[in-house]
Symmetry: C2
Subunit: 147 residues, 2 copies
């Protein structure tokens, strides 16, 4: 199955509220995940996206990045968010679009190597939400994967 | 109207996804807000609460704390989350229960005073999610309120 469809099915099946948020996988590549969600189900009183929904899409873009790379390496494991730091920089009054891009692939290789050896590894990921070509949110997450 | 019911109505009306998450206001006091949500709509593949849902309940406990205190002081304004830092310490495999408690009320008084003078003020709040008497998540949020 196509990696994009596989990730979307996993999200919708394993974390049912992702269907309520309306999360779609737009890109699922080895170094890049893009998730989207429509504004409508995530709207707040100011007609912009609720900060908790922005967070949910961002944390899952990082989760999806690890899930996809674990699948590529035929590895199983529990992917858990351990710490996050979030800056909200501008409101989003349209589609939510969160991109997780690995700028330093050696971090991923080190993570995979550690996980194979120890059955546990940690990875820092950055996810950005852009709106109208402006950074609307920057999410830094520390994920732990364990068997 | 009772402050607890008023806050719950505001959340459910102004941020509709709070109904999907199942957020209820358990306590709405001058120095303490407690929000809850059932596990079921927020469950993940490990039968624990999805980290994005924990975040949503926590960020709204802080939002509700400010909303309630603004109401008490008969002030209007837009309450916006600007920055957050989150530590996930243990899984939650039952009801989500997030508590925002103001340990230093002078911070609130300073915030209200600044807002009245400048029409804009900033407040740092801590929200904790406990499960089985253990800290499961600690959320530190910086909120900005503006006219």
């Amino acid at each position: 199955m196509d990696a994009r469809i596989a990730l979307q099915n996993v999200l919708h099946t394993e974390i049912p509220i992702t269907r309520r948020i309306g999360i779609q996988v737009e890109h699922c590549e080895i170094n890049r995940i893009v998730l989207t969600a429509p504004l409508d189900p995530n709207i707040n009183h100011k007609c912009t996206a609720f900060g908790g929904s922005l967070y949910s899409v961002a944390v899952l873009a990082g989760w999806g990045y690890i899930y996809n790379n674990m699948s590529i390496h035929k590895l199983d494991g529990h992917i858990v968010i351990q710490h996050s730091d979030v800056n909200y920089k501008a409101p989003v009054d349209g589609q939510i679009r969160a991109e997780c891009k690995m700028e330093e692939p050696e971090n991923l290789y080190r993570f995979i190597k550690t996980y194979k050896r120890k059955g546990r590894a940690r990875l820092e990921l950055q996810v950005k939400i852009f709106f109208n070509n402006t950074e609307a949110m920057v999410f830094n997450g520390q994920y732990v994967v364990h068997q």
